[in-house]
């Protein structure tokens, strides 16, 4: 099971956190501090696994971002690497060659996509296409609602002028 997902920039800034096991706010910031210290300091050619508090943290660096997932001892590390890559590919497809800025300004989109990929710390969908389809369908619903609201408020604004 994936206990949490963490996106940290090379400068140690947190870009996304998702917790599937209960951690208090205090523990969360401690975990982030500890792990980013360990992971950011690892050399480039080393393996992508770090043993930490009886768990394993699988991480992979894409450009300036480190994608980290914490799993149990007996989980398949290689597969988790694939899950990370899977996620990155979906992000890439969604944003169109994703960069860190996309994930900063549209952080909520990154979360929405992650929620279509993982639930309860387990993989939900192996098809990138399906996930892209669902997320864009959601987006369309939101856009439609916005437009509607926009037009209504315009009418009201006109009326109250």
């Amino acid at each position: 099971m994936i206990h949490f997902v963490l996106l940290v920039s090379r400068q140690g800034k947190v870009r996304l956190t998702k917790w599937y096991s209960p951690y208090t706010q205090k523990e969360r910031s401690k975990v982030i501090r500890e792990l980013s210290g360990v992971i950011l300091n690892r050399g480039p050619k080393l393996c992508n696994f770090v043993e930490w508090r009886g768990y394993k943290v699988v991480y992979k660096r894409y450009a300036s971002l480190y994608f980290c997932m914490c799993i149990d001892q007996e989980d398949n590390e290689l597969e988790v690497l694939e899950i990370i890559h899977h996620y990155v590919e979906i992000l890439d497809r969604y944003f169109g060659s994703v960069c860190e800025l996309d994930l900063i300004f549209h952080f909520h989109k990154a979360y929405y996509i992650l929620d279509e990929l993982l639930i309860a710390g387990e993989l939900q969908e192996s098809s990138k296409k399906t996930i892209a389809r669902i997320v864009s369908a959601h987006d369309q619903v939101v856009e439609a609602a916005k437009e509607e609201a926009g037009s209504i408020s315009n009418i009201i604004a006109q009326a109250t002028k």
């Binding site: 947190v14 393996c47 590390e77 909520h108 309860a120 993989l123 969908e125 098809s127 399906t130 939101v142």
Partner: protein, 871 residues
């Protein structure tokens, strides 16, 4: 943009935060934003909620407190539209965790949304529930989720399946409700549903044995067919990862087959073919393929014995191990640890490669490899492996030395073929990584050295040589100091030289230099200094020619700022100075330390407390007067190796204690005691009980030190009248006696164990003494004779003694000999205490005594918890 909204947009806020140059500036911006958001929350405008929450989430990610926004999440979730709900649920998952009370408030909204007509809303609710639900929510909402597993839309089905895995993890009792629904998911074609369904089945199998049986019977063949289909399927662009069709589904299917095959030969048999196929046909040049192979190997090793498959699995691991990719090597090492259980030989073949992994620059690989090596060690290869590891210890990173040295020590301890080899290896480890070695390791080394009498000379010379080069390794210094203190004469006189040694010449003052260096070095810690001080005392008798210099060093420590050091320095100085006649017998060599006892204690990592079963028992025939001696001597001789946590002071005391304890046993027992007792009392400057009584006590006391553990020594040397079976009072009890110091009567000659009497209570006017006896054959019951002594010049009348005990004790009071207590007279009263927790708990008692003096009522109360142990 909404014309009614105020404040900045999310995008602008993020920009201004990113524009901040310093942390203080950022805090300022965030504070301002938070203030705006709070104000906006108070206005309660539904249009702003969406944006406020989005901002709060960003602020939350930066690590600022955002609890004030939690209720906004609930409001958004409760609003009717999908966009509000979407951000509301996201905020809920981000800002809250399952332990917050607020979460309970959302249960009702979740329930409504799970029944919502819009399937997107249902999806949101399932997702939130699956990510953060608590046990209570799981119970409340399980029926909804169970129903949704059969929902028409596959996207809802898969979410419901994973949501169910969370529910059964939180509330395992609910597992059986999901078994049927889960098994229906296994027939699906949609990969998402299949993956989540398999995951749910796996979860149910690990939680519930009946579910496991059910799936094993009904689903094994179906799962094998599914696996075969996707393994053989043609290229499917939607699911293809590096030439493998849906590796994620592969992995999950293999994982589920693993639990189904484990412990069941029939199921294992069914899956043999497909496992062989996956193991042979999967491409291993990409990570995805390796992930599948890795899972397959794990499944092969977990299911019931199919040896041909296992050969295949081991071969795959061998290939992994020689892979250049660090990730693959890491998982190979990981797997080999499991493989070692059934095919040690196959793993041994890769020993050289594994040893190289210990020296890998990657810490994760090193750690795995080291764990594996320690499993690979056996009697045949221990020498070679240890040599390799110790060689590497010299050049390894500082932060790896701790792990590495600990592993080497445990390997050496476990498999060493002979003592000399053990000592050699330990000295190497201490020389290279002495500062990383845990206390129990060098304590164990001392025990071994002590037991290897023919190697004493060799060891002390080797240590001397080592400590000259590696004087910064604290633990090495400690062991060296101890050995030089004990065996200094062997060092100087080159006693017991083995053929393999290079001859060295060490003068007495050379040896002393080492000790002096350790005690004066500014970074030596308290333990080391204390040990050095004891070594000095010992050497003062071993090296009479330089005793003046030794004395000087001791005298310097009189000015130590550490109280314990100062006190010992003064005491030792007085031994050196004024008690030359007994000095040599005082500082005789330690008796051989008992390995078995040490190992038992170490295994249990018992604290230094004195109440444990393995404590040696000591007989004190002379009761109370012996107590102060015990305090000084601490007769538990193996306390020297007590828990690592023992403070320097204890340690020092222990060291001294044991020496003193052993001396009369080896020397002429009749010569020393009287003076010895005086001296010891002198050291403690405690009152002066009658020497005649005490001298005997001290013989018994001292010479029975190792009574229980080393009967042979005891029998040879003992002049003690105390037969072994009397030795039941542990030294712990004697600690308690301290406050009961008085010139005491000789013990009554009874058949059973003898317990020293105690002073149970003492005030200005009254003293109560307890003496104890046991009825033979009834160890639980103690007969207590209480003696009330009137210390005042007045007569007490109407004396009533009352006592209360905890539930595990039963108390019976006989009538007192009189209820009038004349001035300076005494009365007695018998008590009978039955201890239902005999051997586990000691006696305690609360007492009250009322009497009249000159017609006035007096009441005195007290608690008695200084009962001897073992009553």
């Amino acid at each position: 943009m909404n014309p009614f909204s105020s404040g900045t947009r999310l995008r602008d806020m993020i920009r201004s935060i990113r524009a901040c140059k310093t942390a203080a500036e950022e805090r300022g911006v965030v504070r301002k934003e938070c203030a705006d958001i709070r104000a906006s929350i108070n206005e309660n405008d539904p249009h702003d909620r969406h944006r406020n929450l989005a901002k709060l989430m960003f602020i939350h990610m930066l690590g600022y407190p955002t609890h004030f926004g939690q209720m906004e999440c609930l409001k958004l979730i409760a609003s009717p539209g999908f966009p509000e709900k979407r951000i509301g649920y996201l905020g809920l998952m981000l800002l809250l965790d399952e332990r917050q009370e607020v979460l309970m408030l959302v249960t009702n909204s979740l329930k409504q949304d799970l029944n919502h007509t819009n399937q997107y809303v249902v999806g949101l609710a399932l997702c939130a529930l699956g990510n953060i639900c608590s046990a209570e929510m799981a119970r409340d909402l399980a029926p909804e989720v169970e129903r949704l597993i059969q929902f028409r839309d596959p996207n809802i089905r898969k979410k419901a399946a994973l949501c169910s895995t969370r529910i059964v993890r939180k509330v395992p009792d609910l597992a059986e409700n999901f078994v049927n629904a889960a098994s229906s998911l296994l027939k699906e074609k949609h990969h998402g549903v299949l993956i989540t369904g398999v995951q749910l089945c796996y979860e149910l199998c690990t939680i519930n044995d009946e579910a496991l049986e059910y799936f094993r019977k009904k689903c094994t063949e179906g799962l094998i067919k599914t696996l075969r289909d996707i393994t053989n399927s043609a290229y499917q662009p939607e699911y293809d990862v590096a030439g493998i069709t849906d590796p994620f589904l592969h992995v999950r299917l293999l994982k589920l087959l693993r639990v189904l095959g484990h412990g069941d030969a029939d199921a294992s048999d069914l899956m043999t073919d497909i496992l062989a196929q996956v193991a042979t046909k999967t491409e291993s040049n990409k990570n995805a393929g390796n992930a599948v192979l890795y899972e397959c190997v794990e499944t092969i090793m977990a299911i019931e014995d199919t040896s041909s498959l296992r050969v295949l699995a081991i071969n795959i691991l061998g290939r992994f191990l020689s892979n250049r990719d660090n990730n693959i090597r890491y998982v190979a090492l990981n797997m080999l640890m499991k493989a070692i259980a059934f095919d040690d030989q196959a793993v041994q073949r890769h020993r050289v490669t594994i040893l190289n992994c210990v020296k890998d620059p990657d810490a994760s690989i090193r750690k795995r490899a080291l764990d594996l090596v320690s499993l690979l060690v056996n009697e045949n290869n221990v020498k070679q492996l240890t040599e390799e590891l110790i060689d590497y210890l010299e050049i390894s990173d500082e932060d790896f030395k701790e792990d590495l040295s600990a592993k080497i020590c445990s390997i050496v301890e476990k498999f060493s073929p002979e003592k000399i080899w053990y000592i050699d290896q330990m000295l190497k480890v201490l020389s290279e990584a002495g500062k990383f070695v845990k206390d129990d390791v060098w304590h164990a080394l001392i025990v071994v050295i002590s037991n290897a009498s023919e190697l004493h000379g060799y060891t002390v010379r080797a240590l001397y040589k080592a400590v000259l080069t590696f004087s910064e390794q604290e633990t090495l210094v400690r062991v060296a100091i101890w050995c030089i203190g004990e065996y200094g004469d062997l060092l100087v006189n080159n006693v017991g030289v083995l053929g393999i040694e290079d001859p060295i010449t060490v003068t007495e003052s050379d040896a002393l230099d080492v000790i002096e260096d350790a005690i004066t070095r500014h970074n030596s810690d308290m333990n080391t200094r204390a040990m050095a001080l004891v070594a000095l005392l010992k050497l003062s008798s071993r090296f009479p020619s330089i005793s003046e210099r030794i004395k000087d060093i001791i005298v310097k420590q009189k000015g130590s700022l550490l109280l314990e050091m100062q006190q010992r320095a003064i005491e030792f100085n007085s031994i050196v100075d004024r008690h030359k006649n007994i000095r040599s017998s005082l500082v005789e060599r330690m008796p051989v330390l008992d390995e078995a006892t040490f190992n038992v204690r170490r295994a249990g990592s018992l604290p230094a407390s004195v109440s444990t079963m393995s404590k040696p028992s000591v007989s004190i025939p002379n009761g109370v007067a012996a107590a102060p001696l015990v305090d000084l001597l601490d007769l538990g001789s193996d306390d020297i190796l007590a828990a690592p946590s023992s403070s320097g002071a204890d340690f020092l005391q222990d060291l001294l204690g044991v020496d003193l304890g052993s001396s009369p046993a080896q020397s002429d027992a009749t010569q020393a005691p009287k003076a010895g007792t005086d001296l010891l009392l002198d050291i403690l400057s405690i009152g002066t009980p009658s020497p005649a009584q005490n001298s005997t006590s001290s013989i018994d006391l001292l010479s029975t030190t190792d009574y229980n553990k080393n009967p042979s020594i005891a029998l040879e040397t003992l002049s003690s009248p105390a037969p072994p079976h009397k030795a039941t009072t542990s030294s712990a009890g004697m600690f308690d006696l301290l406050d009961g110091l008085s010139p005491s009567p000789s013990p009554e000659a009874t058949n059973g164990p003898v317990y020293p009497p105690i002073v149970a209570y003492e005030s200005i006017s009254l003293k109560i003494e307890f003496s104890f006896s046991k009825t033979p054959g009834n160890p639980q019951t103690t007969n207590v004779q209480a003696t009330f002594i009137n210390l005042s010049p007045n007569t007490f009348t109407d004396c009533i003694f009352q006592a209360a005990v905890p539930k595990f004790l039963q108390l019976h009071l006989d009538p007192a000999s009189s209820n009038t207590l004349p001035a300076s007279g005494n009365i007695t009263q018998n008590l009978r205490v039955t201890n239902s927790q005999h051997g586990k708990k000691s006696l305690v008692m609360r007492m009250r005594i009322g009497y009249k003096v000159n017609g006035k009522d007096v009441l005195e109360e007290g608690q008695i918890n200084n009962f001897p142990r073992g009553l």
